[in-house]
């Protein structure tokens, strides 16, 4: 959250750049104090920068600012002054590192994935089998790519598995997260809502490997023995519902992974929704209550429309995280490779988990095609999560009430 100090500075009129200022007075900017984050409403930065230039340029003033130390050429303060004048440039160079890293990631992945892209072609997205090939036979060359004989890769089951598990996670997590946030903001006393906030932080902070362990030993068996049979044994044998019928397995599979992922993305969605709900103008809600609406009717008429696009943005962010989650999925998915998921409870695999699962096997491929194919998988995952993230942020920026948390949203 940003305070509007720059706005206040501008209102003081010291650099007098009226055109760039926001036209709200200090009072209004105080009211919206917690609302806009840095990127939701980029604020004019003129005063400080102008100040920085003045401070750097005016020798005598700057010297006086350094305290009693003089500006003689041999004095250590001079070195400091020089270093400080360079500081913005040094900081700027370091700030570009994320951008450079992003481009490097894309570049390295594409470079490594290129042979696999040529070898696998578009059929990569439509094939099911996954085979490194005969790594003991001499390497052969097809389309200019060296590979072991019989190598064949298809990502269809992985893509389906990734999308299916992430969709289940979001469908389960959003109502729970929104309900929790509503209760916390509207009903619970501060002490209790702080306790719930602590729960959310813990949930966001627990390592995914611990989620995997818990899913494997506690949640998976519980779901497959006590929860899933509630409907799996009674559903009719018709086309869509057939998918949810049948034996519920031992706990490793699509359903368990969906629930684990839902719990993992709960904190992002719940915490964002909570922060959004706190910004809903109290007077409007009270107006709705004064018209005789019940609490829940006021929610439907005022509160929920106010936060809707923010919640959608947070959900897409959660979707992005569910798509990319690796270790927890690798531990409870059953790691099926080369076959499509056939029931709601069957073993499957996701792109991210397959990269971890298949790495050992890939290292046996002397031609490097297997490593390259995993890089292609990584590229697919990169693009999918990139689209999800950018979409979420654009959606939320459009309404500009609050910014989305970064990443896990602790």
């Amino acid at each position: 959250m940003s305070t509007p100090w720059r706005t206040v500075a501008e209102d003081a009129g010291d650099d007098g750049d009226e055109g760039r200022g926001t036209d709200e007075g200090p009072l209004l900017s105080l009211l919206t104090k917690n609302s806009p984050s840095a990127e939701a409403r980029p604020e004019p930065v003129e005063p400080t920068r102008a100040g920085a230039r003045r401070g750097g340029g005016g020798g005598s003033r700057a010297g006086a600012g350094g305290g009693a130390s003089g500006t003689g050429s041999s004095h250590p303060a001079t070195a400091w002054w020089r270093a400080e004048r360079l500081m913005p440039h040094g900081l700027r160079m370091l700030t570009f590192i994320p951008l450079v890293a992003l481009l490097l990631i894309l570049g390295v992945l594409s470079w490594k994935a290129w042979p696999a892209i040529r070898f696998n072609g578009f059929g990569f997205f439509a094939r099911t089998p996954w085979s490194v090939g005969n790594t003991y036979a001499p390497i052969v060359t097809t389309h200019g790519v060296r590979h072991p004989p019989l190598a064949s890769y298809g990502a269809l089951p992985l893509i389906i598995g990734t999308l299916a598990s992430a969709t289940i996670a979001v469908v389960l997590a959003v109502p729970v997260a929104v309900g929790t946030a509503l209760l916390v903001v509207e009903k619970l006393p501060p002490r209790l809502s702080s306790a719930v906030g602590f729960c959310l932080e813990v949930l966001a902070g627990i390592p995914s490997v611990v989620f995997g362990l818990w899913g494997f030993f506690t949640l998976g068996p519980f779901l497959s023995h006590h929860v899933a049979p509630l409907w799996a044994d009674h559903l009719p044998d018709v086309p869509v519902l057939r998918f949810f019928r049948g034996p519920t397995g031992g706990g490793e599979g699509l359903f368990t992974v969906g629930v684990v992922l839902a719990i993992m993305i709960l904190p992002i969605i719940a915490a964002t929704t909570r922060d959004l709900l706190r910004q809903v103008p109290r007077a409007t809600v009270e107006g709705a209550l004064a018209l005789g609406m019940t609490d829940s009717e006021a929610l439907g008429a005022v509160t929920v429309p106010w936060v809707r696009s923010g919640v959608i943005g947070a959900s897409v962010l959660g979707l992005g995280r569910a798509l990319g989650e690796t270790i927890a999925v690798a531990m409870v998915s059953g790691s099926l490779i080369g076959a499509n998921v056939h029931s709601f409870y069957s073993a499957f695999n996701t792109i991210a988990a397959a990269i971890v699962n298949q790495l050992d096997g890939a290292q046996t491929d002397a031609s490097g095609l297997a490593i390259s194919t995993l890089a292609e998988l990584g590229l697919v995952l990169f693009v999918v999560t990139l689209v999800a993230n950018l979409g979420a942020r654009l959606l939320v920026r459009r309404v500009a009430t609050t910014a989305l948390p970064v990443g896990r949203g602790i």
């Binding site: 401070g55 600012g65 971890v356």
Partner: protein, 304 residues
């Protein structure tokens, strides 16, 4: 709306009753949702801590593993060393980025850099890990190396540190800067002495979050630092390191009761570390808010 048609159709008393029960139902559903958040938290901590404590041995903390016996000392050392390295590398880059974005960045460029940082935070850690694997471990021929792990995890956590630093600096009141400038301070001196100090708790929170993430990550480390039964060595090439999450991920499914117990103990240590970090972060935030002029005030709500 459905509610409107219902209102015209039913007599007033029944209508009011229906609206009341619908209201009650909404809040009951919300309470169920809250329970669905709290129960997993309790279950995870209870389950993992219970399993970990049941067969906990002190030797897990004090001995190195050899084959399928021995403790976790290598992994404890490795986790601490890698986390420290990440805090140093990512701390420098992240805090510098936050300072630049809050204090110096022009609007357009700031937006691009912020966007890049957010997008970076959204990339799955496995992708970062795999890039580290093909770029650092294979192409630069570092082999499994502690530095590859530190670099990859740093890229992972820099966005968090940048973000928290920027927010903390923006929360420092303008009057501090104006006062400093009025006294003729140089911008760098002002930033260091006046602005950075009140922002320190916020910066510290970012570092703590980064540490929690670095402690809990598995996939990127699996691909970049490998595993080693000995103390970490610090050579650039071929210096694999043990880490706690590896013990959980690799041993939970092995055919050995002892390895299961050790995996549970590692999970217990991980949860303890993360809980301690979260509590410390909370305390830091509380200390900040006590002195902050814009601490959230409790609003008394009218009874609904």
């Amino acid at each position: 709306m459905a509610a409107a048609t219902a209102m015209t159709a039913a007599p007033p008393a029944a209508r009011l009753g229906r609206r009341r029960s619908r209201n009650r139902l909404t809040w009951v559903l919300c309470a169920v949702a809250l329970a669905l958040v709290v129960i997993p938290v309790v279950s995870i901590i209870w389950g993992v801590a219970g399993r970990g404590l049941a067969h906990f041995r002190l030797s897990f903390l004090t001995t190195y593993p050899t084959g399928n016996v021995g403790g976790l000392l290598n992994s404890i050392e490795g986790t601490l060393v890698v986390t420290t390295g990440v805090l140093i590398l990512a701390g420098v880059v992240g805090i510098a980025g936050g300072m630049y974005l809050a204090e110096y960045a022009p609007e357009g460029r700031g937006g691009i850099l912020r966007g890049a940082s957010e997008v970076l935070a959204g990339i799955p850690s496995i992708v970062l890990g795999y890039v580290g694997y093909i770029g650092l471990v294979l192409a630069l021929n570092w082999k499994y190396s502690i530095y590859a792990g530190i670099v990859v995890l740093s890229v992972l956590v820099v966005p968090y540190i940048t973000k928290t630093t920027e927010v903390a600096l923006r929360n420092v009141p303008t009057s501090y800067r104006e006062g400093g400038e009025a006294l003729g301070m140089r911008s760098g001196y002002l930033l260091r002495k006046l602005v950075l100090r009140p922002a320190l708790p916020g910066v510290a929170t970012g570092l703590i979050i980064a540490a929690a993430i670095a402690v809990g990550e598995t996939a990127p480390l699996l691909l970049t630092v490998g595993y080693n039964e000995k103390s970490p060595t610090f050579s650039l090439h071929n210096s694999p390191v043990g880490f706690l999450t590896y013990n959980v991920f690799n041993d939970y499914n092995q055919p050995s009761t002892f390895l299961h117990q050790r995996a549970d103990a590692a999970a217990l240590l991980l949860i303890l570390l993360v809980l301690v970090l979260i509590v410390v972060a909370r305390v830091v935030v509380m200390m900040t808010q006590r002195h902050s002029p814009d601490r959230p005030r409790r609003v008394r709500k009218t009874a609904g």
